[in-house]
Amino acid sequence: MTPAAILRAGFRDQNPGLVQLLGLCPLLAVSTSLGNGLGLGLATLAVLVASNGLVSLVGRSLPAEIRIAVFVLLIAALVTSVELALSAWLPELHAALGIFLPLIVTNCLVLARAEAFASRQPIGNALLDGFAMGGGFLVVLVALGGVREVLGRGSLGGDLHVLLGTGASSSGLHLFSEQHGFLLALLPPGAFILLGLGLAWRQARKAAAS
């Protein structure tokens, strides 16, 4: 596979959020703001790249019976490491992402890429696939987070300062008062509806192209 094809697959044709619909639980639960979406997106991206790389190195030498068990072990170790690192250096983001950080282990996207792609590809392709799939997931998380934050709180990037760790108490744009926000956008049903609209948009584009 060419690098361009891998990137195209991750960001567009096989986008985990809008096409493969993998990892919906964290996608819907954490995308309440641009900052949260970006935080979880980056954590997932880091885990995906690292797990794809490791799996590509060891994958082919593993006996078939225990291949998946070893992948799960590797992914769990990586996620735990990312979680510890976040809680040491970005404790506020760690608190905001809460349970969804350890749950990256169960994000089927990570295991799916390890098993379906990285274990049978050279390391370069595997790393690039981790980046493309993680990036595609990140873009959807950030977009959904941004839209939900604007509708629900009237701000965009209002908690980015948590990510940057600059000690600032606010950041981003404030468009209108939070009291006039559209609460549904912040709740899980709103996330489903908005993701549905995203899917419809993607299908419409595909239909128009063909």
Binding site: E65, V70, L73, L74, A88, W89, G152, L183
Partner: protein, 216 residues
């Protein structure tokens, strides 16, 4: 070379060894990261805790180590928790400045609400903050100071100010405004702060008693 040519028992042993090696490698990675981050995580948690304390102390000076000057309490009825709760004491030149209590409101709209309350030695509230909660975003999260200043209303109140009968939300005939659309949350917080102050009034002397640690 082909796996099928290997005898099943040998195959199984090989798989077990590979799995064991992978487990040890994964364990090793986590152990190293844990070792590297441990001190920093402890320091961050400590700083976080102290920053919360500063908020409820409302600028009162203190010169002791709050995290070391503690007393443990247990009163499921007034403090809302079956477990033992730690109270921290703030002192300035050895004189008590405030007692910090962390009661739990068990009757929030969606689960327990953890509060932090600083009470001055005379029984008046210096400040109240919400430590953690699961209330509905946009409705019940007004108890978070990032969303509204409602919780600052408690500063200056005490057990007896207002009267015990008026330590409720306005809807129940009390003195405290409930937040529109979130009466249950308001009621839970007002009730818990009131009960905590009653606890303080009952146990004031024990709470303020001699330092748990000796000052240098």
């Amino acid at each position: 070379m082909d796996g099928n040519a290997e005898r099943p028992a040998r195959r199984a042993i090989r798989a077990a060894i590979v799995l064991a090696v992978a487990a040890i490698a994964a364990f090793g990675l986590v152990a190293v990261v844990h070792e590297v981050t441990r001190d920093r995580i402890a320091a961050t948690e400590r700083a976080h805790e102290l920053a919360r304390f500063e908020q409820v102390l409302a600028g009162r000076p203190h010169d002791n180590d709050l995290l070391a000057d503690t007393v443990t309490l247990r009163d499921p009825e007034l403090l809302g928790a079956n477990e033992v709760i730690t109270a921290y004491r703030a002192r300035f030149h050895g004189e008590p400045v405030a007692v910090l209590l962390e009661p739990i409101a068990p009757d929030g709209y969606s689960g327990a609400i953890h509060l932090l309350i600083a009470v001055a030695p005379d029984g008046t509230v210096l400040g109240v903050r919400t430590v953690s909660h699961h209330e509905t975003p946009g409705l019940g999260d007004f108890i978070d100071t990032r969303k509204s200043s409602w919780i600052e209303r408690f500063a200056g109140t005490s057990h007896g100010n207002p009267d015990a009968a008026r330590w409720r939300v306005r809807k129940d005939g009390g003195d405290f405004d409930q937040y529109t659309g979130a009466t249950i949350t308001s009621r839970a917080v007002v009730g818990t702060v009131g009960r905590t102050l009653e606890f303080f009034a009952r146990h004031r002397d024990e709470l303020l008693a001699a330092p748990a640690t000796i000052q240098p």
